[in-house]
């Protein structure tokens, strides 16, 4: 078989699982049609597609604003035109694994905010729970509709060098990125006409409908047309585009804190015709800022009195308040145990081996092998406050160790996992870049629904293992084949 130009120029990284090529540099079957298509296109045509993708993002306003010396500059979230593809068998496995995990996490939240059997039975140590800043005593014994705490979960998956999927982290507070799953697909439709149906790619367009129906089912008032709103921190937030997209696609009202008011433990929005009662709030504001009377008193993003209305059951908040205790990285270690405890099942998707630095043995082991470790803060997110042992200078390591010793509970360490690579179109050729994958699970009264797709984040710097958008990451369209 003659190798084509893209295959020839592609430098398969060592000791890494590549999404498109196997070890003998044969194109994996799920990528075959895409590769055949790419081979027909000249460099000019591919460059044109890359250019078109940028123009489309810009003119559609799929941008975030960076404020620099008082002047707003529109930026686009970098997008790579080559899709990442997941075959049907792999997807069925991922889907099953995530359903299992989210079910267990949801049971854990209900338990930890009521009877705490899991602590009494000695599965999760009590100090791990009570030292977690996201464990909110305000939520203890609060009844949430249908016992659902996690309505929307974004579970981050990575692949080690043998292709095994691992759970990197659970995001069950306000996971973001789903608008990019939807918009990236729209852009791909324009870039590669006819290719999606030829490859039998499953559609992602159901997401807003499924979410809307779930939100509707959660209304505390039994009315035909409950008022559902999306609470955004406002247009200066970098995810504002996502908030407007979701509100538009679901046909619900996009509100900001000052648009809402609480009276008689009920939430209302201020309209031109007077006050209108709100039933369900899909919030994209963190717990800490939700209600200045209960949490951060300086918050202008929330609504005074909201927590009381919530505790009275007069309004449903999505995701539930206090979910942070389930995606704390110190609690993460116990998720496989939770699955066994609550479901009596073996975990389908594995955890990345994790060391808890509060335990002296584990800490010593991590300190001795720190160049092969990634150290993270247990309540951090967005790739901030992370130490990549293999890339850090000795001074950085020493400074970080001091931080750890101050409060070891707040840190965990994991052996560096190489992350799988996927081809990206850069500077006119295909080049391998590291990727992760975040599918989105929606939980409603009728069960868990995972839309076949998700957000593939890609580390655009050569050799980098950090995919977070705040750290120079981009994204790809993700195809799940039927």
């Amino acid at each position: 078989m003659t190798k084509n130009k893209h295959t020839e120029s592609y430098n398969l990284p060592n000791n890494t699982w590549d999404e498109m090529f196997d070890q003998s540099k044969q194109v994996r079957s799920e990528y075959k049609k895409v590769m055949d298509h790419l081979d027909l296109e000249s460099t000019e045509e591919l460059n044109k597609k890359e250019e078109l993708s940028k123009v489309l993002f810009m003119t559609q306003g799929i941008t975030f604003t960076v404020y620099n010396s008082g002047e707003g500059i529109e930026k686009i979230f970098p997008f790579d035109i080559i899709p990442r593809i997941i075959n049907a068998t792999e997807w069925a496995f991922i889907e099953k694994g995530i359903k299992q995990r989210v079910t267990a996490l949801n049971l854990f939240l209900k338990d930890v905010y009521s009877d705490q059997f899991i602590i009494k039975d000695g599965i999760v140590p009590i100090d791990i729970i009570y030292s977690c800043p996201h464990f909110l005593r305000e939520m203890v014994n609060v009844k949430v509709p249908h016992d659902i705490y996690i309505h929307i979960a974004g579970i981050d998956l990575i692949r080690d060098n043998d292709g095994t999927y691992y759970i990197l982290e659970d995001n069950v507070r306000t996971p973001s990125g789903v608008s990019y799953m939807l918009e990236n697909r729209e852009i791909t439709k324009r870039l590669f006409p006819d290719l999606l149906p030829q490859c039998k790619v499953r559609s992602v367009t159901e997401y807003p409908n499924v979410l809307y129906n779930n939100l509707r089912a959660l209304s505390p008032r039994q009315v035909a047309d409950p008022t559902i709103v999306l609470l955004s921190p406002g247009s200066f937030n970098s995810a504002y585009f996502e908030h407007t997209t979701l509100a538009r696609l679901m046909g619900i009202e996009l509100v900001e804190g000052p648009d809402l008011i609480v009276e008689d433990h009920k939430v209302f929005m201020k309209t031109t015709a007077g006050l209108q009662q709100v039933d369900v709030i899909y919030r994209r504001v963190d717990d800490e800022y939700l209600d200045p009377l209960v949490f951060n008193p300086k918050s202008l993003l929330g609504v005074a009195g909201l927590m009381n209305a919530y505790r009275k059951g007069n309004v449903t908040i999505v995701n539930a308040v206090g979910n942070g205790v389930a995606d704390d990285k110190a609690v993460y270690v116990y998720v496989p145990e939770m699955i066994k405890y609550y479901l009596n099942e073996e975990p389908i998707l594995k955890n990345v081996p994790t060391y808890q630095l509060k335990n002296k043995d584990e800490r010593d082991h991590v300190f001795a092998n720190i160049t092969n470790m990634v150290v993270k803060q247990t309540n951090g997110s967005g790739g901030y406050g992370m130490l990549m042992g293999h890339a850090a200078t000795p001074e950085e390591i020493e400074a970080y160790k001091l931080e750890i010793i101050k409060d070891p509970r707040q840190f965990i360490a994991q052996p560096t996992i190489s992350l799988s690579s996927a081809p990206c179109y850069m500077h006119g050729v295909l080049q391998p870049r590291r990727v992760d994958f975040r599918p989105f699970a929606l939980c409603g009264p009728d069960g868990i629904n995972i839309i076949p797709g998700g957000l593939t984040r890609v580390a655009l710097k050569e050799g980098s293992l950090v995919v977070n958008s705040s750290q120079g990451g981009g994204s790809k369209d993700t195809w799940v084949l039927s």
């Binding site: 504002y240 407007t244 509100a247 538009r248 996009l254 509100v255 648009d259 201020k270 031109t272 015709a273």
Partner: protein
């Protein structure tokens, strides 16, 4: 509808109406400035759109610098670029209430005016081409709204903003133009002065069809205030304002307060006024009264619909 959303929609529309009026005015004025008209001056235009207190005092009002000041100068709060930035910020925060087409159209307008190439063209090339590009963006907005926006309360709030702004502009233009006559009574009989006024608000052709005997100040006034067939006339704007206000009121979408009274009173005042024989002083008073009542209506919207707390 959320008060904040209604207010944003109203202001998107007001700003677009203002930029449209301003761009057309600039275009006609620039053309006259190339015509070596002896009495040509930029100062009325600047007074109409930037107020008396603007940063341009004392300069020689050279056409290029006036255009740059009015169109692309970020330091001028009333420049087109600043108004379009406001429009786009407002639109961004109500994306779920305007159609995707309208949002993309406004976003494109914003990207167009911020393109550095446009400013270079304004400095070096033919300014009319630049003004035409921008006018076309505004037209796209009008067409896109017409075709895609549902005829719901949001559209009504947008129309309220549009016609209130239009009424204010027309009165303002008349006031400034007739005000200049005070200092230079010869203008009253100067054909090209009135022709120019009509051209700048798009009423020239209609005037020719209505009045056959040449340009007279009184007829110009009658057309711009009282002719309901002229879309930039004060009475037309008021009639439209009433139409959309009534739609909102009958749909139960607003807290009407005393607004029916305010709008109805002004409409009657304009409709039943006789312009023939108005003296110069009375004319100024008459226009000033209409203007202040239009402002009053704007304040009432703010009070009853937008600032609920």
């Amino acid at each position: 509808m959320l008060s904040r959303v209604a207010e944003s929609l109203y202001w998107i529309s007001r700003y677009i109406e203002r930029t449209d009026g301003m761009l057309r005015m600039l275009k006609i004025n620039y053309a006259s400035s190339q015509d070596a008209v002896a009495e040509f001056s930029w100062s009325p235009v600047i007074r109409i759109y930037c107020g008396a207190d603007n940063g341009l005092e004392g300069t020689d009002y050279n056409s290029r610098s006036v255009l740059q000041y009015m169109v692309t100068d970020k330091k001028n709060p009333n420049s087109i670029i600043n108004m379009i930035t406001q429009v786009r910020e407002n639109a961004r925060s109500v994306q779920d209430h305007i159609t995707k087409d309208v949002w993309q159209c406004l976003n494109e307008y914003y990207l167009t005016i911020r393109d550095p190439k446009l400013n270079t063209m304004l400095k070096k090339d033919d300014p009319i081409s630049v003004l035409d590009i921008l006018i076309k963006q505004g037209m796209l907005f009008y067409g896109t709204t017409e075709i895609t926006m549902p005829r719901s309360e949001g559209t009504s709030f947008m129309r309220l903003g549009k016609y209130l702004e239009r009424g204010i502009q027309s009165v303002n233009i008349l006031d400034v133009k007739f005000g200049s006559v005070d200092h230079n009574p010869d203008l009253l009989t100067n054909t090209s002065y009135w022709k120019h006024l009509l051209l700048s608000i798009g009423g020239y052709e209609l005037y020719l069809k209505t009045y056959r005997q040449g340009f007279e100040a009184e007829n110009v006034l009658a057309q711009v205030v009282l002719n309901n067939q002229f879309p930039r006339s004060v009475i037309y704007s008021l009639n439209q304002l009433i139409k959309y206000f009534d739609l909102l009121k009958s749909g139960g979408h607003i807290n009407a307060g005393n607004m029916s009274f305010l709008i109805g009173r002004l409409q009657s005042k304009v409709k039943y006024s006789s312009i023939k024989g108005l003296k110069q002083d009375d004319l100024h008073l008459y226009l000033a009264e209409i203007k202040s009542e239009l402002f009053g209506i704007g304040n009432a919207f703010n009070h009853h619909c937008f600032s609920l707390s």
